[in-house]
């Protein structure tokens, strides 16, 4: 995918340390006043011209959220979040559709450039008339992209190509208008509004996100991608993604995240819901590189995300792959509810923390159907003063005859001021199920380092190489272009942690 490929170039071009995506775009924003109350929710809903049922749903979620308390069980420390000190809605101001790129707000274009989005897609993203139908380069892998700029999905590319295949890929706000029956049927069906504190908050105030619908028997002709950015100050980003894969369909979805460098801690609380019917497959890949704060632990994104996939149909499969290198705080447990018989859940994760970052991440695999299978491979790397926790649950229901789980959690410590923790929960209620869990913690071996150094690699390059090897089992699950980007990200995120 060109966007990531060029992001890579940006990465490679930058030789100095620090956060490479630390820029912010100065464009006119339309913002709701700070604070959260029913009126703000009504405002968001009205701005998006939402039907009454969705407003009611939001308000119900808000009422639930008010009664909940922030969870404290994760191994995370942060000052209390003031939920009234945030803007819950921020959108770039709309102008009449520009005729060519020359008319597009140059600041916006510069942002896309820095994000590494290729020119034609930039034109599409900026809403240049006629740009949508442009054919894609034949020799490049095609990726359809939905860019979420703060809270609003700016544009979706390759819409027409997808439409031919019957695939719906659009901002969820658009789906609410154009496919209300689908949104109403599936929204909140995997992550109910009362699921947890942050999911309830998201349900009340979500502003945009992506909506994907793959019809029966369709193999989505290209990778779908969303690029999230947090741009405005003191805004919370609450995107909502919903992916539905009908019987026998397949989709691969990529999600990348960056955010400009800011001193304040910014809140991000997304919800992602996946539904897979009989024989359907969803592959969901994430490279998360939100601003992690500076080397003193100042600033950074608070990332509290609820991601869950529901294998509703027989032989369905949901696969999560994530590379988490950013955010000051990561609280994220992409999960699979394996309801259909013979359904499969996978979780491949690399979580890297440096400086004062804290990550508490893992997965839940709930085996309900017979012969359901799950695989968990988690690689945690801690450096600097950071703390990295794997927290996972594998639950085998009484009915899940022949269920199978394999879990492997490995932690790597770099330096003696960081922490690596493993908190797995293993619950089995069926004697025919077979569960295996193993976890190890170690450091980079001196002989490995010596071997690389002896062959002329600098210490930092050697560590990067070894860390990439440590993560290989996960990186190989990523789509190729993402895998390359992820390797670079790992190396960059470790800068300054050795020597």
């Amino acid at each position: 995918m060109p966007a990531v490929a060029e992001t890579l170039d940006t990465v490679q071009a930058a030789t100095e340390g620090g956060y490479k995506w630390g820029f912010s775009t100065d464009i006119e924003m339309e913002m709701a006043p700070k604070g959260l109350n029913e009126d703000i929710i009504r405002l968001i809903s009205a701005r998006k011209n939402e039907p009454q049922w969705l407003l009611d749903w939001r308000l119900a979620a808000y009422a639930v959220w008010l009664k909940m308390t922030e969870p404290e069980w994760a191994m995370l420390n942060h000052p209390p979040i003031d939920y009234q000190d945030l803007h819950y809605y921020a959108a770039p101001k709309k102008k009449a559709g520009p005729k060519s790129l020359d008319e597009v707000d140059p600041e916006l274009l510069r942002t896309y450039e820095k994000l590494g989005i290729p020119l034609r897609e930039r034109a599409i993203l900026a809403g240049v008339e006629g740009a949508d139908g442009a054919p894609a380069d034949g020799d490049r892998p095609q990726v359809a992209m939905d860019a979420v700029f703060d809270s609003v999905s700016v544009a979706t590319t390759f819409k027409s190509t997808l439409a031919k295949a019957g695939v719906i890929f659009c901002p969820i706000s658009e789906a609410v208008q154009e496919h209300p029956e689908l949104v109403r049927k599936y929204l909140g069906s995997v992550v109910p509004t009362n699921d947890n504190y942050f999911a309830a908050l998201n349900s009340a105030v979500f502003t945009d996100g992506s909506f994907v619908y793959i019809p029966k028997g369709v193999r989505c002709p290209m990778e779908l991608s969303t690029y999230f950015r947090i741009n405005a100050r003191n805004t919370g980003q609450f995107e909502r993604t919903l992916i539905i894969a009908e019987e026998g369909s397949f989709v691969s979805y990529l999600e990348g995240c960056t955010a400009p460098q800011r001193d304040e801690n910014q809140l991000h609380a997304a919800v992602v819901e996946l539904v897979a019917f009989d024989d359907a497959q969803i592959k969901y890949s994430t490279v998360q590189n939100w601003y992690p704060g500076d080397s003193e632990g100042k600033g950074g994104i608070y990332n509290f995300v609820t991601k869950r996939g529901h294998c509703r149909g027989a032989r369905s499969k949901i696969s999560w792959t994530q590379v988490e290198t950013g955010s000051a705080i990561t609280w994220k447990y992409p999960s699979c509810v394996l309801q259909g018989d013979d359904s499969v859940g996978e979780f491949y994760s690399v979580a890297l923390t440096n400086n004062y970052q804290q990550a508490d991440t893992g997965t839940k695999m709930i085996h309900i159907g017979k012969r359901t299978k799950s695989t968990i491979v988690s690689k945690g790397i801690s450096a600097g003063h950071s703390n990295n926790t794997y927290r996972g649950l594998v639950r085998i229901d009484r009915r899940a005859d022949g269920a199978r789980n394999f879990t492997q959690c490995d932690s790597l410590l770099i330096g003696d001021q960081c922490g690596a923790h493993t908190v797995p929960y293993i619950e089995s209620r069926n004697p025919t199920a077979k569960l295996e869990h193993e976890a190890t913690t170690s450091k980079i071996a001196e002989d490995q380092l010596f071997y690389c150094r002896q062959r002329g690699l600098s210490e930092e390059d050697a560590v990067g190489l070894i860390v990439n090897g440590f993560c290989k089992d996960v990186l190989k699950e990523l789509p190729m272009e993402f895998a390359v980007e992820a390797q670079k990200l790992l190396a960059i995120s470790l800068e300054g942690s050795v020597g």
């Binding site: 330096g415 001021q417 797995p424 929960y425 293993i426 295996e436 170690s442």
Partner: protein, 425 residues
């Protein structure tokens, strides 16, 4: 109109209040340090009993315990049948009946000191952190203080708790001190008949180069509650070597806190839980590596039949200073019936980088291939299953070096198996 609160939290609160009331009524007659006792009474009054929302208790709800009522103990005599269940080994006997020291059934120690007649509080327990320890401290009436002088081998001590099943609740408090280079094998046997509460706390101070081997058999009555807490603190080069065989009680929780405080200290926390019917047993360990070059080994095996529920929670904590830590933990469970359940939570919390820590957990049924192998060689099904279960347990049992204790445990396992291990499949 007000509705009386119900549910587990109310039941736990009511039970805590009743225990505090019992303490208030009897506090002037209870032996030992009244100040320590009063402090814990305040903790019980303020904190109550562990509730279902507490992470450390998520798999073991104490509601059945809270709803049962136990009266204070009186002097009692054990039945011959109960006495016959004590292991026949050569040892100095310290026998407690319904939580009270029974001198006629006990022997005289040679070369080391034992005091009884009041709770041996020691200083290692943390009633502010562990609510059941506060309950024990508040109501403890008796216990053994065992003191082994430097470079002395105290041999084998049989610390036996016999319960007569008179619906009593007792809270024994034992304190074991090993001076530098001392040695002790403690056979800690808790057995009984019927319904009662046994809530013992044992604390071990293991000085430099000392070794304590703590071999436990928990075979309490079918209606009993066994809630025990062990604290062991091990100094440089010392070893706390333990094995627990868990067979009895309706609801059991064994919690072990081992702290490796000096370089080269070691702890072994092995266990086998064999459960049937609707038994619930929880083996929870917290091993803290607080010094460099320390090692811990845990092998915990569970065999579950009937509607039983096995719980294992094991946490290895490695402090920043504890470089070169070697921590290993393995938890395995065999589910032999459709309604058995295993919940396992092995945890690592590591703050030092030059360490080697690993844990593993498996849950499953007997291997069909292995069964087939034995059957195809003419071994009857029941026997084949017995062989495989015995083999499954061997990794935990084999390290027991005390011949007599191991033989007694093997016999107890064989008896458990003969009694019904094969029935519920």
């Amino acid at each position: 109109m007000s509705i009386a609160p119900s549910g587990p939290l109310a039941a736990l609160k009511a039970a805590a209040d009743a225990y505090v009331a019992d303490y208030q009524a009897r506090k002037t007659t209870l032996p030992g340090d009244s100040h320590v006792r009063a402090e814990s009474a305040a903790l019980v009054a303020a904190n109550g009993l562990p509730g279902p929302r507490e992470e450390a208790w998520r798999y073991t709800p104490l509601r059945p315990f809270a709803e049962a009522q136990f009266k204070p103990t009186a002097k009692a005599e054990p039945s011959a049948a109960l006495l016959a269940r004590l292991p026949q080994v050569e040892a100095t006997r310290l026998v407690f009946v319904d939580g009270r020291f029974h001198s006629e059934l006990s022997g005289v120690p040679a070369g080391f000191r034992v005091t009884t007649g009041e709770p041996a509080y020691g200083t290692l327990a943390r009633p502010a952190a562990e609510k059941l320890v506060a309950l024990n401290t508040m109501l403890a009436e008796d216990g053994a203080a065992i003191h082994v002088p430097a470079n002395t081998d105290a041999g084998t001590v049989l610390l036996a708790s016999l319960a007569t099943g008179a619906a009593v609740g007792f809270h024994p408090r034992h304190h074991i001190v090993l001076e530098p280079g001392a040695k002790l094998t403690l056979l800690d046997v808790t057995i009984g008949e019927g319904e009662y509460l046994n809530n013992p706390v044992l604390t071990f101070e293991v000085a430099a180069g000392a070794t304590v081997t703590h071999l436990r058999t928990q075979d309490e009555g079918a209606g009993a509650f066994h809630l025990s807490t062990v604290y062991a603190e091990v100094a440089e080069g010392g070893t706390y070597d333990s094995f627990a065989l868990i067979l009895g009680a309706k609801l059991a929780r064994m919690e072990v806190h081992a702290r490796l405080a000096g370089p080269n200290a070691a702890a072994h926390l092995n266990a086998a839980q064999l459960l049937g019917a609707s038994q619930h047993a929880d083996f929870t360990t917290i091993v803290r590596h607080d010094a460099p070059n320390t090692a811990s080994r845990q092998t915990v095996k569970n065999v579950l039949t009937g509607r039983s529920r096995g719980v294992f929670q094991g946490k290895i904590e490695v402090a920043r200073i504890a470089q070169k830590t070697d921590g290993y933990q393995m938890n395995q469970a065999l589910l032999l019936s459709a309604n058995a359940e295993m919940d396992s939570k092995p945890q690592l919390e590591i703050y030092a980088d030059d360490v080697k820590c690993s844990h593993g957990a498996t849950v499953g049924a007997l291997d069909a291939d292995q069964l087939f192998y034995l059957r195809s060689r003419g071994v009857p099904e029941a026997e084949a299953r017995a062989i495989l279960v015995r083999a499954f347990l061997s990794e935990a049992l084999d390290p027991i070096s005390h011949e007599g204790a191991r033989a007694a445990m093997e016999a107890a396992i064989a008896a458990w198996w003969a009694k019904g291990g094969t029935v519920q499949t």
